[in-house]
Amino acid sequence: MKRVLPTLLLAMLGLNSPLHAADYTIDTKDAHAFIQFKIKHLGYSWLYGRFNTFDGSFSYDPSKPEASKVQVNIDTRSVDSNHAERDKHLRREDFLFVEKFPTATFTSKKVTVAADGSMTLTGDLTLRGVTKELVIDVDKVGEGKDYWGGYRAGFTGTTEFKLKDFGIPMNLGPASEVVEMTLDIEGIRN
């Protein structure tokens, strides 16, 4: 009884871990989420960039991770590779064509969970007007209470695709056909 009571109280206050699927809003407001990409430059080094503006949500239940869902909207204009001239080019028709396709979206369709707990997220990525199925390898980083009265859960995911698959016409050479993406998201439970 000594141990049950506090747990019960916490449950009533809604401060402990959720018993069923909870909805989370990705914490882009305070930038605890990152959508980054890297692509080889000439085959000699890695070039990194990111999207600064996006929003999204997910639902997650630690006891039923295969029921997880995630939805992310990316403002393609916010591409940032730390070089204004390059970013200007990335926004043009050669790459993201943001004037015509200002938003990229990812919507999950299916989650499978491996024995070690890692997840495989299958969903549709819409980029530059092309919608294709994409598989993201996801690991949970952690979850729990934060220090300001909220509850958070965070994941890290990686995926890769060919620029050509989404109709990006610029030819960067044979070493730079594939872009790798790393997605780190932290959600605050609604």
Partner: protein, 182 residues
Amino acid sequence: MQLQNSTRRYGAISIAIHWLMALGIIGLFGLGLWMSGLSYYDPWYKQGPFIHKSIGLILLALLVFRFFWRLANARPADAPSLKPWEKSSSHLVHWLLYGLMLTTMIAGYLISTADGRSISVFNWFEVPALISGLPEQEDIAGEIHEILAWAIVAVAGLHALAALKHHFLDRDNTLKKMLGGE
């Protein structure tokens, strides 16, 4: 030929600046148009913009000097046969060209300095970024740069046609004055 203008003829400095800038602007327009279509693996992909920016900034300095030189110098009289509308429209075109050149060059500068990077002039020296980080700075400056560059070519074309008209049809001294004559 004297360096300064008189009320009858242009001096060597004015004439040199005029033709240098004419050559420079036409060259930059062609280079700019050509280089923006280069593939990433073209040997000129880096060299083209480097030369374009270097010459552009030199022309900007020359334009500022030209402005003060014009204010400090006499202006040779227009050919007596010029009608009032010809005088006023030619002045309008001259100032329009100055304004377009200035705006285009500043817009170009704002593209490359949008993230705070400086611009190298032929590796001789660096021109630092003064204004950076405005929202969508490189994109908006890029649009302005391109549109106004076309406007310069259009207005300069008009300017050149008018000079040829005065030379061949009106047979006055308008064009000759810019070649050192009276």
